[in-house]
Amino acid sequence: MKSNHNKKNRNFFACLTTTLALTCTTAALAEKLVIQVNTIKLRENPSFTGSSVGEVKYKQEVQQIAQDGAFLKVRVGGLEGWIPKSATTTPKKLKIKEGNQVQLSQPSVMAAGKGLDDSSESTGGKKASKATGTKRVDAVEAATPEVEGAVQEFKDSGGLKPGQRGGKSK
């Protein structure tokens, strides 16, 4: 009877240890990533058109917990959701790429918010065209409509059937 009890205890502890080990391993494998785009929606499903459950921003850290093709399931704060893998990178890679930055001693204010300042615009006699072009880019960006929800409708109304191609014919 006592031996049977010990055996049950041993089994219980073995299970507990295995579970703990698996949990620790999973946690260790959950890769830390960083967002490399301005903003990206967290979605319920691994697709571009699934319901949004939140949004993550540039340089925000996320934990990868699963992968399905080109999508990663990530955890951030109290949220879990799917994002395209291309929207992420590793902190190390981001740092390497940012290594191009150099510090300069003579800062000047960048006028016009998004473009080169007046003195730089005048360099090389490009003032008018560059300033005009910068304003036009701003206008284009401001006017670009939100197409987030439009893509699904665009696909359906255009009779587009992705992935239903026949491939190469015989």
Partner: protein, 310 residues
Amino acid sequence: MTVAAALSKIYLFFCAAAIIASCSHDDKKFDPENPPPEEMTLTDEQEYLLGRQVAADLLARFPPVKAPFNKYGTTLARYLAQFSKRPTTFKGYRAQLTQSSEKSALSTPGGFIFISQPLLKALNNEDELAGVIAHEISHVVLRHGELAMNRSAEAKKDRKKTAKGLKATANILGGIAESAGVSGLTGAAQSAEVASIAYDNGAGTIHEQLLKSGYSQDQEYAADAMALRILLDAGYDPKHFGLFLGRTFSSEERIKKKGVVGGTLLSTHPLDEKRVDRINKIIKGWRPGPASKKRLIRFQQIKDASLPHQ
């Protein structure tokens, strides 16, 4: 020495050789069909800001047109991008109609895509437009803009200066971004002098490359091949891309404009029979999704609403 010890030494030697080989990147030999390794590129944010500068220069020459095409083209671009290797860029792909006297389609790093009014006029259906946009997306995916900077530097055999220029570019982009309110940026506000260097060595190089000589033939072929795959996966019929190119460039206009340089699809996307043949060879045997009258109708409506009435 035992045979086992000798074998293990040989094994170790080959392991070491393999490791050294894998570590030695030669940035001069990019495969046109594959983007450079992620570590060797700008960040998505820097790429976007560089693209903004190129876009500013292009829009100074070819003013943007407010038209229903912009929403339609942007939606189409983002739909197509889902089937590419790079569905996301820093601020997403964006299509814009531009004024021009010539047929032109251009993309900048980060995903600005410019389609001229004459080009839109020359397109017959949405599948043809999808082909043009998929081709431009492919240039962005393959990071041909950044490679253009590298190529230009190699031609000048002045890598040191260019490295300085690239650093300055990255730096000034940080400054621009900070002023633009883009989050998480590193650079402080920069000097006007550096801005000029950055422009001349970065955005200016790409812009000139785009307008004067276009991308290399290999890069165009690579963008074509990638575009065809995107079109097929997205449910479009890739043959329309080849049909459009063939029709456009074998026309009388092609002969008239021979030798014209600057801002045209003809000069930026050099086309010969070989290119069309390659396209036809790639898609031979493909079975695309069904044609749709709905697509034809909506394309025609957008086209009519976006072009000036004559």
